[in-house]
């Protein structure tokens, strides 16, 4: 591996830039990076849903709906039982069921997967809008935990090691998913099913079964992203709560080339850009029109995408229903 490969030079640039900002004002830089991480986590988790589904050949545009309904269930069950753990468990069950419904439509019924995902989104919007009631509260949010010792490290401590429980679970899932996709037999089979299902079938992998399992688990991860929003980040629920994050996540998945770490990096980049856009407004350093600062994260993402992406290739069998015996 070349030491100064294209990828490494980006990392080097990012590290140098961070060090430069940190030397200018340590506290602000730490705060901005911690904020960027908070912006990034739900997006990264939602992107994992997309990766898990598309790697096995199922397009899931119902991530938004999965997150929305799960955030709703997480909040209202927590409010009803006054216990956020029960709320979280019910949310993950709900998300998995959303995944299962998608699998039934996409795998068993061989429906158009875009329509199947849209149904999930409409279902979630309709249900949460209709059932929503005001004035409910939860006993508390998942409070920030300070990891002993590690959280005392300057810069890295506050950015990486002072978060709520769901953030840590989320980061663990992202790392585990990376290992699972590239270094386990399950990952190899999943990728095979997403690239060339008939070959995988010939080799004895049950395409339908694997797709069912992966899409259902992915739904559970989507639920965690939703529950993070309502039980850790905000501590409430409002209609239209997820505000399009499930769709942004799909873009980040492509930006990260269907690789969990790639998507995480993309989400961190996007989150950091948002945090810096905010910081420009907070500091009022120069009198830039807010319209400009507002579009900054999007422009930066497009620029980086254009420079770095090159040719992006999705899993070959993505979006195609599989029938035994087809070529």
């Amino acid at each position: 591996m070349k030491l100064l490969s294209k990828r490494n030079s980006y990392f080097l640039f990012a590290i140098l830039a961070t060090a430069f900002f940190y030397s200018k004002d340590g506290d602000i830089t730490t705060s901005v990076y911690a904020t960027g991480a908070a912006f990034a986590l739900p997006l990264a988790l939602a992107a994992m849903v997309g990766i898990m589904c598309e790697r096995t050949g199922i397009v899931n545009i119902g991530i938004e709906g999965t997150m929305l309904l799960s955030a709703f269930v997480a909040f209202f069950v927590s409010s009803l039982t006054q216990n956020i753990i029960i709320g979280l468990i019910c949310a993950i069950f709900t998300g998995s069921m959303m995944g299962l419904i998608l699998a039934v439509m996409a795998v068993s019924w061989r429906m158009d997967q875009i329509i199947a995902g849209t149904i999930l989104n409409i279902l979630a919007t309709g249900l949460t809008s209709f059932l929503y009631v005001q004035g409910k509260t939860i006993p508390s949010v998942f409070q920030a935990i300070e990891v002993p010792v590690l959280s005392k490290i300057p810069f890295f401590g506050p950015v990486l090691f002072i978060h709520g429980a769901l953030t840590f679970i989320g980061i663990a899932i992202i790392l585990a998913l990376y290992v699972a996709i590239y270094h386990t037999s399950w990952g190899l089979r999943s990728r095979a099913v997403g690239e060339h299902p008939s070959s995988a079938d010939t080799a004895g992998v049950s395409v339908a079964r694997l797709r069912y399992i992966n899409v259902t688990i992915a739904g559970g991860i989507g639920a965690l992203a939703g529950a993070y929003l309502s039980l850790e980040l905000v501590g409430s629920f409002e209609r239209g709560f997820t505000a399009g994050k499930g769709f942004t996540a799909l873009a980040l998945m492509i930006f990260g080339r269907w690789n969990p770490l790639g998507a995480l990096a993309a989400a961190l980049f996007f989150g950091l850009a948002q945090a810096y856009a905010n910081q420009l407004m907070i500091d009022q350093v120069v009198n830039i029109p807010t319209q400009f600062t507002a579009i900054l994260p999007y422009v930066m993402t497009i620029v980086v995408l254009t420079i770095s992406a090159g040719k992006v290739r999705p899993p070959a069998a993505e979006g195609q229903p599989y029938e035994k015996g087809q070529a």
Binding site: T35, F39, M111, I122, T125, S236, E238, G240, I282, Q291
Partner: protein, 344 residues
């Protein structure tokens, strides 16, 4: 199978176009357009009717106004800004007498509808009306005054001398008026205390969800909190509510609500809401509906009342001296003897 499923999809899609919910009142919708019936239709902006701030207050005003007039009220939630005219036409075609449109962004569509339906009285909440049509009345507020008072109070309550705000879209005039008034109020209070107080307003990164992004509001509020800001004014539908909820999780920090007394509407923020920069929206809407019923509504613009809500649970945290000063400044601001410094 495909056919059956697409039929289900179509039905679900229809269900999301708009939730239409009537309020209880004397007449029913079937009577609208007949003599003696009095029907009020309300079209929300992209936010929801139960947004705990301005759509909700306007709807409560519409219900109250209609009930008082012995009429009937109903709302439509707009889900796409391209539907403004269509949603108004739904009411107009059924013979409604009054149509209330909520939100600055609907101003042009309302003015156009007023020309198209000269017999219907239009009330545009938060819409400065520059037309001469007598059937179109803008209900406007001096948000800069409410913002100024909130800022003045914040300048006296801050311990870190850093006061912030998390807002919706800057292009929306009332939001900007709150923001500039707030910053000028902070400066006014800081000058009185001869202290240097840093103030900042962070506006949402525009787009369709500027008023419906609580996660952004919460994260941005937290960004300010970690930088030592100890009072945060959250304004802009559920985006602002998200900010309020986050501030409540931090001990010792105060938050300021907007539009209505949000102590009642955002229960998760009770611990931090010291006051709300209130626009008496319900009162304004119901007053104008009463005028429409009586036939005295004139067109042009009607300025509603503004002010600060009670301190509620945090009453003991506001020193008596500050209360006295605030009262004096409130009188000055409302009478116009103190300028909010809003330039437009």
């Amino acid at each position: 199978m495909i056919k059956r499923i697409s039929a289900v999809t179509a039905a679900l899609a229809l269900a999301t176009v708009g939730f239409i919910v009537p309020a209880q009142a004397a007449t029913t919708e079937a009577d609208c357009g007949t003599a003696g019936a009095f029907c009020v239709g309300l079209v929300t902006d992209l936010g929801k009717v139960d947004d705990k701030s301005f759509n909700q207050s306007a709807w409560e005003g519409a219900k109250a106004g209609a009930a008082k007039a012995g009429g009937f009220a109903k709302y439509i939630e707009t889900t796409d800004s391209k539907d403004y005219a269509k949603n108004m036409a739904l009411f107009a075609d059924k013979g409604y007498n009054v149509i209330v449109t909520v939100g600055f962004l609907m101003g042009d569509a309302t003015a156009a509808a007023a020309v198209k339906y000269p017999k219907i009285k239009f009330i545009g909440v938060d819409q400065f009306n520059s037309s001469t049509a007598t059937n179109n009345t803008g209900l406007i507020f001096d948000e800069d005054k409410a913002g100024f008072l909130a800022g003045y109070l914040a300048a006296y309550l801050t311990k870190t001398n850093k006061v912030g705000a998390v807002f919706g879209m800057k292009e929306v005039l009332p939001v900007r008026k709150f923001g500039e008034g707030y910053e000028n109020g902070i400066a006014y209070g800081a000058a009185e205390r001869s202290k240097k107080i840093k103030s900042t307003v962070v506006y949402h990164a525009a787009g369709d969800n500027a008023f419906a992004d609580p996660a952004w509001g919460a994260t941005t509020a937290n960004q300010l909190l970690t930088q030592g800001y100890d009072i945060i004014f959250g304004a802009g539908g559920s985006t602002g509510n998200g900010a309020l909820g986050k501030v409540a999780q931090k001990a010792g920090a105060f938050c300021i609500g907007v539009d209505t007394d949000q102590y009642y509407t955002v229960p998760e923020a009770k611990a931090c809401i010291v006051t709300s920069a209130e626009k008496k929206l319900s009162l304004g809407v119901s007053t104008l509906i009463a005028q429409a019923k009586a036939g005295t509504i004139k067109g042009g613009n009607f300025t509603g009342q503004v002010g600060l809500s009670p301190f509620h649970d945090l009453d003991s945290k506001v020193p008596a001296v500050v209360k006295v000063r605030l009262k004096k400044v409130t009188t000055g601001i409302l009478a116009g003897s103190i300028s909010t410094g809003f330039k437009g």
